[in-house]
Symmetry: C2
Subunit: 253 residues, 2 copies
Amino acid sequence: MTRILAIANQKGGVGKTTTALNLGMALSQMQRRVLMVDLDPQGGLTVFMGLDPYHTERSSYSLLMYDGMTVTRAMRPFSTGLALIPGSIDLATAAVKIIQEQQPLDRLREVLRSSRINFDYILIDTPPSLDVMTAISLVAADEVIIPAQCHYLAMLGIRAIKDTIDRVRDGMRNPALKLRGVLPTMYDSQADYAQTVVDELRAVLPGQVFQTVIPYDVRVLDAPHRGRAVIEDAPNSPAALAYRALAEELLAD
Amino acid sequence: MTRILAIANQKGGVGKTTTALNLGMALSQMQRRVLMVDLDPQGGLTVFMGLDPYHTERSSYSLLMYDGMTVTRAMRPFSTGLALIPGSIDLATAAVKIIQEQQPLDRLREVLRSSRINFDYILIDTPPSLDVMTAISLVAADEVIIPAQCHYLAMLGIRAIKDTIDRVRDGMRNPALKLRGVLPTMYDSQADYAQTVVDELRAVLPGQVFQTVIPYDVRVLDAPHRGRAVIEDAPNSPAALAYRALAEELLAD
Ligand SMILES: Nc1ncnc2c1ncn2[C@@H]1O[C@H](COP(=O)(O)OP(=O)(O)OP(=O)(O)O)[C@@H](O)[C@H]1O
Ligand SMILES: Nc1ncnc2c1ncn2[C@@H]1O[C@H](COP(=O)(O)OP(=O)(O)OP(=O)(O)O)[C@@H](O)[C@H]1O
Ligand SMILES: [Mg+2]
Ligand SMILES: [Mg+2]
């Protein structure tokens, strides 16, 4: 049964896009059919996959706004088992339009669920905000992964996205939505309090924090300059090993 | 003459809040009167200053939404020469209201400019998005500082915020608005391409990139756990020295 996973946290720069990219690749390396969907008007995932969010005609924007657009037509295949629906800068105007015209938020849900048979995992990358695109991803998803940087503001960010998940679920927009897990990211072993933050996450959210912790690893910063994800660019680096461990954790569910 | 500086970049986690906090403190340590304004509904700057954005009655939200609220009543003094107008989670609903009712964006500009005599520097921290709160800060400011993480997506992020600055200036909402500078942040000397990113910024934006580069420094991650900004917590750390150098660069203008 296909799993649709929203990768969400309104805090900026916590590793949402890096997680969507590397988890997606790890799962496809493990023979799963993966679709990634970029819902961020800044299009970081789209850029990391070598496309240009300033110039994508078939994108998540067209999928949201045009009834005639389908998942099959919007997606770009990258290899057997890995495809991307790119983002577009036009998603910013879509968000304003949806707010102003009070349009329903379930268009993405409909099209992904009618296409789900084609994939094992659908990963949705979201922008750093709690507004329209994140709401659309939560209405469309079965489960949520919350990447959380191991820093002082971690719990503040998690609280806000958890409240939003509860509102979407209890407000009946997506009654089956569940939090699959908080993923500690950018764990810097040289920082005095990184372990304190992880311990606190596990204490406050028992059973809701992944075993896997993604370490701070300069190889993640380097990889895009060589046109690759860290999982391909430095497959034995600490971050690559951690993203494969994360994929294994999900496959063991 | 008071300088009103917006700290803006819609890319998440590039050091906007860390810059507002540490530059603000550095300037006040150098005997300037500083007002910091938190326009982010996530309220990171407010949390770093020891307040709670879930419980602030007088905040940037009340300043934007209630005619009777003034800068003097909204601000919290922290020491001679340093004050904060805290953020509030209610800023998220303010943004929706402003979009839906198509309200003007110049309320913050009015109140700050009528209060400017009381301060030497006003620093406005903004959320990771190009929407209402960032627009409000650009209409209110004299100048913009763009913190830019030294990573592959740096130029993409800068292009978007520069376009927005041009639209605000050329669209006559704030004809005098200028870009003071791009600030390279989180420069990790262990990363192969960090220097390449800085070189490219200086090549593509000649004269528009600060001399100062803020290094990646775990002391920045540790400081909030001890209730302090890095500039107080570790005054001789590389990041603290860099933020003081940034303050000197501004004072030399
Ligand atoms: N484990 C890591 N080690 C080092 N750098 C990392 C790691 N994970 C992510 N980064 C870097 O941190 C920056 C932010 O990561 P990323 O863009 O994935 O976060 P995000 O949550 O998607 O950001 P946004 O909120 O802007 O969408 C990127 O430059 C990325 O390369
Ligand atoms: N020079 C640095 N070295 C190490 N860590 C840093 C540095 N500057 C900022 N950080 C850390 O990176 C994280 C993101 O920084 P910050 O919150 O200032 O970015 P931001 O642009 O305000 O994020 P957002 O877009 O979510 O508002 C914080 O945990 C902060 O402590
Ligand atoms: Mg992202
Ligand atoms: Mg911030």
